[in-house]
Structure formats: C-alpha cells, structure tokens
Subunit: 204 residues, 2 copies
DNA sequence: TTGACAACATACTCGGTAGTATGTTTCTTT
DNA sequence: AAAGAAACATACTACCGAGTATGTTGTCAA
C-alpha cells in the first residue's frame, strides 16, 4: 500500500526534525511507527533514500502552496502573496521543511556518499528553481520601482531566511487558531517586505 | 602552554562548521592539527567539553564586539550600531558562530547527555542575556516612536535571524577587502532595520 | 642526575548503528 | 486451495567512533 510509505515519510520527518539526520537511527523511526527496521527498509533502499524522499515531498508541498499566486499581474502583490503562502506552508509542514533545510546544509558540507550526493544535487536544483520564481518576482518589483534593492542575490537570501525562520522558532501552541497562524504569517511577511524596502510600509 | 588549547579550539571550530557536530570525529580534529586524539583529550575532557569551549569563546567574541556601542544614548542609533557590530563579528568568526548556532539547536533537540545538557543550558542563558541587550534597545527605540513593532519577541527573533544569516551564505571571496565586508554588513543591517519598520528608510 | 610532571602518541575496548539475510504472516490470483 | 508475492519481523554482521589505558619524550626544579 502507498499509504504506508507516506506514513513512514511523515514519522521520519518528525524524527529528523527532532534530532537531526545522523542522530536519528532507523530504529528510532521504526519505534515511532510501532514497527521495526524491516518495514522501513522494505520501502526505502537506505537511510539516505528515506531522507531524500522527505526532501522531495517537502519541496512539492512548497510548489503547490505558491501555485495559485504565480500569475498575479502586479509583481509586488505577487511577491507578497507568494511569500505569505510560502511562510504559511513552512509553518504547516515544519518537519518536512526542516529536512529540506538540513538537506541543503548537508550538501554544503562535503561529507556524504556519492550516491546521496548526486541525489541531493538534483533536489537542490529543484529548490534553486523554486527560489528563482521568487527572484524573478523580486526583480520585476524592483524594476517597477516598488522595492529598494541593489543586490538581488543577497536580498533573496535575506528574504528566504526570514520567511523560513519559523522552522527554528515556531512551535504550535495549545488552543492556537488559524487566525493566530495567519497573524504570524502577516508579521513575518511584513518584516521581509519591509527589509526589501517595500513602499507603503508594513501596514497594507 | 595555553596557546595549544586555543589552537585546538580553532581547528575544532572549523571542523564543526564544515561537517557538523556528530559528523565530526575527534580524529578529524586531530588530523587537521597534524596530531592525534591524545592531544585533544589531554586538553578537553570530552567531545562535548570541546564543543562547549568553542560555544563560550564565540559568545565572548560577540559580547566584546558590541561592547563599545552599548551606552549610546539614542536607542535607534544604539541598536543599529550594535546590530552592525554583531553582524561584522558573525562574518569574522564564522566557525565559532556556527558552533554557537549548532549549540542552540542541539539544546532544542532533547538528545544529549545530562552533563552536556547542563553546560549547554548555562551557555544558552549566557546567550539569552546577550539577546536581552538587543531586546531592550529595540523596546526603547519602539517607545521612542522610531520603530514599528508590536510583537517584541518575534521582532527580536527575526532581527537575529537576518543578522546571523551570514553564518549560512557567507564565504570569503579571494581579493575581498574590508570595504566589501563593510558593505555587506550595511546591507544586512539595512534589511533588518527596514524589517523592523525603522523610520528614515534603509539609506543612512 | 634524577625524579616528577606536562604534553603528547599508540594501542586498545566497547557500544551503537547501517545494512543484510532470513524467517513469518497475510493477501491476492487463478 | 495452492502458489506466489507483498509486507513486514527477527537475528545477525561489520564498522565506525568515543573514550581509556598505557607508553614515550621533553622540560624543569632541587
């Protein structure tokens, strides 16, 4: 069944989020599932393959999240709505997004097996294409005079660092409503847009 | 000699930066020094102790960096100069600052030995006190009407995420001058201050 | 000069973990 | 219902790395 695979991915994502890649053993993942290694290795060739599966799933969530806003005409409005959708998705699928982050970091550090490395490079390209969507919206907004940006690459990096930051500091509060999350998203996006020098201030 | 200890700290910081805590073996550190485990374990009780030593050294650098600006009267000016000093220090001592970051993350994930955990908690308190310095400057600037901030804790987090981000994306370019670094610092600080809604815009 | 200690190097132990090899139990298919 | 395969569980191996125990070399004091 395909649901079993998804269940393993979700459990492993939480493990990797809580304790990092190397600190997490396959037995940890299995224990969380109430199962044993056999089940995990039946669906995934290796620990690296499992990790890559989470990475890919996380990126697919991100693409899906911003999809409805990609063809908004006004570049500043498009950028802001994509940013909000991205940030919202980060909060909603935090375990997966942390794995994406760890994957990027893992690739920057050289140390992995060649097999995992090539797979990580493909996934990183996948992520670069995602960032490029934002980069282009940002460039268009700048050309329209709606943003004060002189170093495009740096600005994109800083924007993503802010939008992704819930990965590190967010944790669900008991009794938290959708409106609470939406307010958080607005504040984070306001910070990012303000940092980019968006005209009109953070109140929109 | 005390210089040997410092040399080990610096080498280990680079190793931890490049490959992470668990991926780095004591033998790796020794190899980088052209030595063996014996030398490391002669100066440090354990791998965790070595890690904590780097953490502490990194934090001491940060305190020293912002010290000259802590008693500037105008809160917005104080905040901005402290932010610039912090960001500059992040870039200059990147290996140590990455270890500080890893240490905070390592504490959030529960999994460590009790001995390391208590030491990490003390170091984290040390870091909280550091953040508090910024938090107070931020609160005062807000009260003076120089910043548009409604969620103080969130704003401090977002500001630090931006200021610390060189940890991840900065790497020294060949032929890089002091002026280049200073320009980077200005851009990062401008982003952070803009995100906080600083009046007067990012050009200063 | 010798004894004692600091500053390492060398040679081991031992636990944890990725991966494998091999059962065992449903489920499907004909 | 019989055969086969999917979906696991169990038992084992092989290796890597933290920590230790024990040598070895220089240095300095008395």
């Amino acid at each position: 069944m395909e649901g079993s695979r998804a269940e393993i991915l979700a459990a492993a994502a939480v493990c990797f989020m809580d304790r990092g890649y190397t600190e997490t053993s396959i037995d940890d993942v299995a224990r969380r599932l109430g199962a044993t290694k056999g089940r995990v290795y039946h669906h995934f060739a290796s620990k690296a393959d499992l990790f890559a599966g989470i990475f890919r799933a996380g990126m697919e969530m991100d693409y899906a999240a911003i999809e409805p806003f990609r063809d908004i005409a006004d570049p500043l409005d498009r950028l802001e709505r994509m940013a909000a959708a991205h940030c919202r998705q980060i909060i909603r699928s935090r375990p997966f997004q942390r794995v994406v982050w760890q994957g990027v970091q893992l690739l920057l550090r050289g140390a992995t097996t060649p097999e995992l490395r090539s797979e990580l490079e493909r996934l990183n390209d996948y992520r670069d294409a995602y960032e490029k969507i934002f980069r282009e919206a940002l460039a268009q907004a700048r050309d329209a005079g709606a943003l004060a940006v002189d170093n495009l690459g740096l600005s994109v990096s800083l924007m993503f660092v802010a939008l992704n930051s819930p990965i590190f500091w967010y944790s669900p509060r008991s009794g938290e409503t959708e409106a609470d999350i939406e307010k958080l998203v607005r504040q984070v996006v306001a910070f990012a847009m303000g940092g980019l020098g968006a005209k009109g201030g953070p109140d929109r």
